[in-house]
Amino acid sequence: MKLSMKKLIILTIIAGSVVTVLGGIPNVPFTVAQLKYGGGGDWYANPSSLPNLIEFVREYTDIPAVYSGKYVEPGDDDLFNYPYLYMTGHGNIKFTDKEIERLRIYLTSGGFLHADDNYGLDPAFRREIKKIFPDKELVELPFDHEIYHCFYDFPGGLPKIHEHDGNPAQGFGIFHEGRLIVFYTYETDLGDGWENAEVHSDSEEKRRAALEMGTNIIIFAMTRQ
């Protein structure tokens, strides 16, 4: 079942690429960037995470994902060049009114944000995302949600990579017109799991689980309606 799902997704991506090429639209690789935010929090945390994740995705899925190598701010002109944003940190987040507006437009216009609580981000993230989407609620995704099964199978939901408060890992989402636009991973610390092995000395099994879950998130963001 798992294998057939993988094949199906790969075929879908290949077919999509062929259609894109035949249609004359430039085949732009899927570019991922890390979000830089204000407020004093360490937006720069986990610097080796994204490069490792992208390398993993390229190696195991043939998806032409590209790490931009850039920290992009919500106010940057090229924000819209990145269909996938990743944000993490331990501390405070503060978006200006303009940034809130830009992020709202970005996300409701097709952008995707994966926010990963690196421990301590939770209150600030919830506060700021509420400013971006005052009309929407963060809802916890059930374990049968596609994001946990679209490539690798996670029957019990998010893997727990790092222990902080003894709470279970949770994945929340914000939907816009039925589409998942923000995925918030809480109490799992996927980003730590993506970092170089020597940074946190996690077992290879844990790192692999984190990278596989990260792959799922990227594939989901690429293929969702």
Binding site: G91, K98, D135, H164, N167, V199, S203
Partner: protein, 1120 residues
């Protein structure tokens, strides 16, 4: 002739002249009256009727004949037919009968020769004289016909009135009559039913311009109007004119891009206009216009060339605008005419022209061109000039954005947000110390986004280099300059914030006070929880006894639930306050990592006092209260009571741990205080010795030390007292230390030192300072020893207690297993079951003792898992249930309960073993090298700061000399070379550090450019000296180093909070996603808000809310 004869002749002559005059005048009047009368008739006829030319001519001749006849008869004839004198004399005789024919006789005598008729000459003379006498006094004019004159005047007046009346009553007929009557011999077109008025009729038009013909119809309305155009007498082409939709009597037609002369006629209804001529004038025309904007430097914008014929100038102030125009023909001259009446000549080249101007004020311009025939371009377009002025920038400090207390590292991470329309030229941090506001200093904040309208700058401000002392307040703000180089940079100033340097004693006092408050809060919550517990017990008992649940009981339960909610909120608040205290302690570096770790764990205990089960029980109770089922309510109340008991247990444990922590923290506080005081004392000594500290500053610092020492003495006394409440703590040792410190009172010594300073005895003071420093060090060491001793003792005690508990539990588990095995042999046997009851009771009793010991040690050591009490409690409950069943002889019911109890014992033993392993591994683990890394980084920051300071004079000297780069004096060259060497040393150290940091990619990542920037600075110093760029680079280096330093500090704190590999926690999947995916509910909310924003009467608002509430409630059921 005699005199009398002459008089008579004269008399008659006068009469004849009067007669002729009056006759002539009255004749003229009559003639005029006749002419006017005839004219009236003529106008009337021509006005009312269209007369052909012949008829009009005939009428004219009639009018003319009668007029001339009248003129002759009444005006000229009287002059021709002059009355004879004798006739006049007769008329006079008739007028005056008293003359008695003497006048006529006398006239006759005067006319005849007397001798011819034989009359006597004398007699004749006498007759003449007599006649003359008779005429005396008479008026000969009386014979004139005055009555006739009056009569004819009346005729004339009548005729005039007739004409005027006609004109007034019907002017159009009058004018038409005049026009036609006055042109009797001209062909006049027969009047049509329709008349068209054509504008402009004959016209001149500039070549390639449009010509609009407008037609207004009067009379009968034609169905349509056509225009017949012909070139050079050629065939006419017909065009339909367009009726004006707003006025059906108007038409228009546009001849576009008229290129050559033509004629046109307009036809509509029965009307055909005469041909009109349109003459085309070939004026110069603008056929192409291109603007180029050279923006001023401050905008950072590239030169822009607009698309052709885009003539509007909308540019920033000071933009240089170049206008290039192409014309339809060769031109003689061209100029730009501005709305302020100024002109600017353009450069001519055959058919094109180029001109330019600088946009400094709004207005408009026109492009004027004149050809060699003197013809100017027609109606040149007026293009607007809009000048956007460079607005003032704004700047704000977004972080910290509030007044703060400085932390131990004396660093303030600043986030500055600047906004300007065209970007910035610089940011500077301005600050002053409140006590000396006249000295304001400024530091350049490096940034590289000059041209961006919104700039976010992060800057680490190191206040460690400032000469500030505890209790000083630094006021700071940020100034931003925009990059307007045309009118000069405009400055924005942020809000002023303050950073206070709190004294160590103040911080410690605050922390101590906070902790005491938190313990008091938890004690109060605990007391209230106990009261609540008693109430609940009583209530559930009553509810069990009675068959019905009364309204009062329900209300009491509701109140209990509310109280529990409030207590839970208070607990959360206390946990938050505790977190803040932990953060404060961490920031001020007042505690070791072990203590901070413990504080975090206590904080978590506080947060977890109200468990998820408790919340669920509260929810169930709430639901049961809302329902009417008494059984459900009883069950919910019991469950709530049980979870409340558990909460109380957790609370007791947390409180006990808090109290122990309070003591441990006090030891830590006092140690930190002693170390800090030592550091301050050393600073005073060194400052006085090397002269880096003024006497006044030294006095202030010493006063702070005195205050800190007082707190130390008092704090140690309190510590001894606090420890006496805990038998396992070294209270005697603490008491001894407190006594020793009191005897050698450092506060007194410090006070003396301060007095000596004030009296100028600096040498004596130096000795005291040294003594004090040593004393502080000894105190810190003793506290350290005390702390280690406490830790070791607690650890050993805990491990021993756990070991005992584990053995006890495993033993009890084995006994339970035996008991259950025996029971299983004949599970139906009531005797066997009852017989095993005693063994079960022994096991239960022993389990109670083990539980008590575990609870006791858990109140001292937070390493014991918080749920261990719950697990053992569950085991005890199951044991109790098993005993009840055994007593009843129901072995088959007792068995599963017994197995549950045994399983819980095993789990508890396992958890305790895990705790023991963890404690052992922690005590053997060594600390990381992070601190030394941090210290190295701190040292390098200091060094870099010194290099930066020393570079400034070189850069200023080089700049002020006005020499070329590199033009340094020998002294400056030597200084630059020395600094390059120092910078090289720091670079190498940084490189080594970066090598060490390679293992820590988070730090290494942020040190990337520091080494490279340092190399650039070294090159500058060696080859070019130092300039603004060098200073900027150095500032960037400093900023990045401080960034790394701050991160290291933060990382250290964070490391304590995290980084244990997580274990997957098996749990149920969250419920399926809500139908609205978190969106729909809010749509309803929005609609509700929108609805309520409408101006509905008040009474409708409630209805609207109810409606939306119903919709919301029904939404999931409907599924859409």
């Amino acid at each position: 002739m005699s005199e009398s004869g002459k008089k008579i002749t004269d008399f008659i002559g006068r009469a004849r002249r009067a007669l002729m005059l009056i006759t002539s005048v009255s004749g003229a009047m009559l003639t005029l009256a006749v002419i006017l009368g005839l004219s009236f008739l003529l106008i009337l006829l021509n006005g009312l009727f269209f007369l052909e030319c012949g008829a009009r001519s005939a009428l004219f001749f009639i009018w003319l004949g009668i007029s001339l006849g009248a003129l002759f008869y009444w005006v000229l004839w009287p002059f021709i037919n002059i009355p004879r004198e004798r006739r006049v004399a007769i008329d006079l005789e008739r007028e005056y009968p008293e003359l008695d024919s003497r006048l006529v006789s006398a006239y006759d005598f005067l006319k005849i020769e007397p001798r011819s008729y034989g009359y006597s000459g004398d007699l004749i003379a006498a007759s003449i004289v007599d006649a003359e006498k008779r005429t005396r006094g008479l008026k000969p004019e009386r014979i004139a016909p005055f009555s006739m004159l009056r009569e004819r005047s009346a005729y004339l007046v009548f005729a005039v009135l007739l004409i005027v009346g006609f004109l007034a009553s019907s002017p159009s007929v009058f004018h038409t009559g005049i026009a036609r009557g006055s042109n009797p011999f001209q062909y006049i077109m027969r009047p049509t039913l329709t008349t068209l008025k054509v504008e402009p009729g004959d016209a001149g038009v500039t070549k390639y311009k449009n010509l609009e013909i407008t037609i207004a119809a009067s009379g009968k309305l034609p169905e349509d109007v056509t225009i017949l155009r012909a070139f050079d007498g050629g065939a006419e082409r017909t065009f339909s004119a367009n009726r004006n939709p707003e006025n059906d009597r108007e038409w228009s037609f546009l001849f576009e891009d008229v290129k050559r002369d033509f004629t046109y006629r307009v036809e509509g209804g029965d009307f055909i206009s005469r041909p009109f001529k349109v003459a085309v004038v070939d004026r110069p025309r603008v056929v192409g216009l291109t603007l180029t904007f050279d923006y001023p430097d401050y905008t950072g914008l590239q030169t822009v060339r607009l698309e052709e014929n885009e003539g509007t100038v909308d540019v920033p102030y000071g933009t240089y605008v170049t206008v290039e125009a192409r014309f339809s023909k060769k031109i003689e001259r061209s100029e730009l005419n501005f709305s302020d009446s100024t002109q600017k000549a353009m450069q001519i080249d055959d058919r094109s022209a180029t001109g330019s101007f600088r946009a400094i004020k709004p207005g408009s311009y026109r492009l004027l061109a004149v050809d060699n025939e003197g013809l100017a371009n027609d109606d040149p377009i007026e293009y607007p000039i809009r000048v956007r002025s460079d607005e003032y920038p704004t700047v704000e400090i977004t972080h910290p954005g509030v007044d703060i207390d400085l932390t131990e590292d004396m660093l303030i991470p600043l986030s500055v947000l600047g906004e300007d329309d065209y970007g910035f030229s610089g940011f500077q941090l301005a600050f002053t110390i409140e006590k000396s506001p006249e000295d304001t200093s400024r530091i350049k904040i490096p940034f590289d986004s000059y041209r961006r309208p919104q700039v976010s700058v992060e800057y680490y401000w190191d206040l460690g280099r400032l000469a500030i002392f505890p209790n000083d307040i630094v006021l700071y703000w940020v100034e931003a300059l925009d990059n307007d180089r045309v009118t000069g940079p405009k400055k924005a100033v942020s809000r002023v914030y303050s950073a206070r340097f709190p004294s160590i004693d103040e911080i410690i006092k605050d922390v101590i006070s906070d902790r005491e408050d938190q313990i008091t809060d938890v004690e109060e919550i605990s007391r209230q929880e106990r009261d609540l517990q008693e109430e609940l017990k009583e209530l559930t008992r009553e509810m069990k006894r009675a068959s019905e649940i009364t309204y009062e009981q329900r209300e009491d339960l509701r109140e209990a639930l509310q109280t529990q909610r409030e207590l839970a909120e208070q607990l959360e608040k206390t946990a938050e306050e505790y977190q803040q205290t932990t953060e404060k302690v961490t920031e001020q570096q007042l505690a070791s990592s072990e203590i901070i770790q413990k504080m975090l764990e206590v904080q978590k205990l506080l947060q977890d006092v109200a468990t998820e089960e408790m919340r669920e029980a509260m929810q169930k109770l709430q639901e049961a209260l809302d329902s009417m089922d008494p059984e459900e309510l009883r069950r919910a109340a019991e469950e709530f009571q049980m979870t409340q008991e558990e909460l109380l247990e957790r609370l007791d444990r947390t409180l006990a741990l808090l109290k122990r922590m309070q003591v441990e923290q006090r030891v830590e506080d006092m140690k930190a205080l002693a170390e800090k005081l030592k550091e301050m004392e050393n600073k005073v000594s060194e400052g006085l010795e090397d002269g880096s500290m003024s006497q006044k500053d030294a006095e202030r610092m010493q006063d702070r030390i005195t205050e800190g020492s007082e707190l130390l003495e008092k704090g140690l006394e309190e510590l001894a007292e606090m420890m006496s409440e805990f038998p396992d703590m070294p209270s005697e040792q603490a008491k001894a230390l407190a006594n020793e410190v009191n005897q050698n009172s450092p506060s007194k010594k410090s006070g003396q030192c301060s007095s000596l300073m004030k009296s100028g005895s600096m040498n004596k003071c130096a000795g005291k300072a040294e003594e004090l420093s040593e004393q502080f060090e000894q105190i810190a060491q003793k506290l350290q020893q005390m702390q280690e001793q406490m830790q070791q003792q607690l650890s050993a005690e805990t491990i021993a207690a756990i070991r005992r508990a584990v053995f006890g539990l495993l033993d009890l588990s084995a006994r339970q297993e035996n008991l259950l095995g025996t029971l299983a042999k004949d599970i139906r046997s009531r005797e066997l079951a009852r017989g095993l009851g005693k063994d079960g009771a022994d096991i239960s009793l022993a389990l109670g003792r083990v539980t008590a010991e575990v609870v006791s040690i858990a109140q001292k050591n937070m390493m014991i898992p918080p749920n261990i009490g719950a697990i053992l409690g569950s085991s005890l409950r199951e044991m109790g249930a098993m005993l009840v069943e055994l007593e009843q002889g129901r072995g088959y019911s007792a068995s599963p309960r017994g197995y549950e109890a045994m399983a819980a014992m095993n789990v508890a033993a396992e958890k305790l073993l895990e705790t023991m392993d963890m404690m052992s591994s922690q005590s053997s683990s060594s600390c990381s090298g992070g601190q030394s890394f941090f210290q190295k980084m701190q040292g390098m920051c200091d060094k870099q700061g010194q290099i930066n300071q020393s570079t400034i004079p070189i850069a200023q000297g080089q700049g002020s000399s006005g020499s070329m780069p590199g033009g340094l004096t020998p002294d400056q060259q030597a200084a630059a070379s020395r600094l390059a060497g120092e910078q090289e040393a720091v670079r190498k150290s940084m490189e080594e550090l970066a090598g060490e940091a390679a293992q820590r990619s988070d730090i290494a990542g942020r040190m990337d450019n520091i080494v490279e920037e340092m190399e650039e600075v070294i090159q500058d110093l060696r080859h070019r000296g130092a300039d603004e760029r060098t200073l900027n680079r150095q500032e960037r280096i400093m900023n990045r180093m401080l960034d790394v330093q701050k991160s290291l500090h933060r990382q250290e704190y964070e490391e304590r909070r995290k980084s244990r590999t997580g274990e997957n926690i098996v749990r149920r999947s969250p419920d399926r996603l809500p139908e609205d995916l978190g969106e729909r509910r809010d749509l309803l909310q929005q609609q509700l808000l929108r609805a309520l924003n409408q101006p509905y009467p008040k009474e409708y608002e409630g209805l609207i809310k109810s409606y939306f509430q119903a919709l919301r409630e029904n939404a999931p059921a409907e599924g859409k």
